[in-house]
């Protein structure tokens, strides 16, 4: 989204314009959804958390006189914290719905992912390899190469220095290469 347009829409949002917020939602929801999809177990949870990100963003912006330098960074930070809450609050369900469905949840997400991308083994390897990475490494890789954030923007989202982000990117790519290049073996978690 054009930066000037975004600034104009943000000003409208702060004065209570819901339609302006709707435009921002349409522009950013694919990014936030993708970000969360790699953090949670199911597509449904990614959808729910994505919706909550935008509701919280609205509540943060509406009626306030804050200057928001980067809406993108704000949205990713909200998403990051919601994901942290998600991990903390996740409890085994009191009533098991369907064990077969529950066991197949990750596979279903993986399958849907591949339907949207392609059926090649390389993408499958990447997705599996990403899951083996430590969350902070996976996060910087996705933000940089999938969401195309700059190093500076990633630093802002993750509350790290640019130097730290560069080092993490380098290490993460090296680890990914090791995983992808291992011939058909089931990737072992590299970091807990």
């Amino acid at each position: 989204m054009d930066k000037l347009l975004e600034k104009q829409l943000l000003a409208l949002v702060q004065s209570g314009d819901a339609e302006a917020f709707g435009q921002l939602y349409t522009a950013y929801v694919p990014k936030i959804y993708r970000y969360l999809l790699f953090k949670v177990a199911t597509r449904e949870e990614a959808e729910d958390l994505s919706a909550e990100v935008f509701l919280r963003a609205w509540q943060y912006l509406h009626g306030q006189l804050r200057t928001v330098k980067s809406l993108q960074a704000l949205l990713y930070r909200i998403a990051k914290h919601l994901a942290i809450d998600y991990y903390r609050q996740r409890q085994p369900p009191a009533y098991q719905l369907d064990e077969a469905a529950a066991a197949g949840v990750l596979d279903e997400r993986q399958q849907r992912l591949f339907e949207q991308v392609d059926q090649s083994m390389t993408v499958a390897q990447i997705e599996r390899a990403l899951r083996t990475l430590k969350d902070e490494y996976r996060e910087v890789v996705l933000l940089r190469y999938v969401e195309q954030l700059t190093v500076g923007e990633i630093a802002e989202v993750t509350a790290r220095s640019r130097g730290s982000v560069r080092v993490m990117l380098h290490r993460a790519l090296r680890l990914l290469r090791q995983q992808v290049d291992s011939h058909g073996e089931t990737p072992k978690p590299l970091h807990g």
């Binding site: 339609e19 369900p93 993408v123 890789v141 992808v180």
Partner: protein, 373 residues
Amino acid sequence: MRRSQQELITILQRLRAVTPPTEWVTQSRELLLQEIRRQANAPVPAVPAFDRPRESLAAGWLRLFRQPVVGLVAALALALGSALTVNAAFYSLPGEPLYRLKLAFERTQLVLVSDSTRKAELKVEFVRNRVKELEQLVAQVAPGRTTPQRVSQVVTRFTREVAAVRQEIGRLPAGNRAVFKIAVSVDEARSDLAAQLQAVTQQPEAASAEVTAVVREALAAAEQTSQSALEAAIAAPTSATSSQALPAADVSRFLEEKVAALREQLASRAAPAPPAVAEALDAASAAITEGAFAAALEHLKAAKTLLDQGGGTPQSAAPEANVAEAIGTDQPATSTADGVGATAEFQTSSTVEPPVQPPTGGTETETTQNFLP
């Protein structure tokens, strides 16, 4: 084959093609905008009068509960460009293509509501949706459509959602009226569920050991939730404002109906029950008259426990009979004030969960504050 860093990056970039489902984006956008407009212009919801007879009281509450959904359905129809699609989704059942959309619609509504009372009310609405689904399953005449699996799916989801209501009760403010509304609504849902399940037993192809197990769980969960809500409503400090105060007359009537249902159950038993049961019911009635609702509830629980310990219904090998036993259909459906469900009043269950504790931390609030510059 070793891959270069650039090759790896190129493959990573392909993941950009992953996008959320278009239907979900449209639906959630409209729900989000509805909610933020509502928050900006929220009128104070009309409190239904509590001096109406119970039937119209329930209808009034259901109308109140349905209002947000009606508005949201209209918005969704506009967004999807097809009221037919929305209607089809709304009436879809487990196993049908649009059922997933229906559940996603419910989930998104819940996510976009921040007010805890409204969240609880929405969750009760979803519980009632499960009962309606069961009603539709029962009404489907074609053999093979109402399978044990589909019944089990709906009932299991009912159980999960009624447990979610119970969790939400712990977060509600001390608004006695709202919590009492929830208690009554869940109790009605339980009664309706029991009535539908009785109909299921008439279709042997729909009843099975699996259905029996989930039925027991569902009715126990609903009973527990209604009880928890009632305890919370009665235990909460009396609000100074009349609009939120506990409606004493309605609570009395509700509890008296419980007493009457247990008395009928007691009277219809073949084997005599311990005298302590009648004594407990008398004590409950006296407590209700005095306005001591918490004490009345304790006496009712004691009476039910004694009744259950006094000997249950005979065991039967046939699945439909097991289902009937689970929902207490050893009595004619019209013999009690609450219908079939009355015999499942205040059942103790092995699936009883510990009392819901209100959240002690402000995790979500802290999280929201963390991203402030």
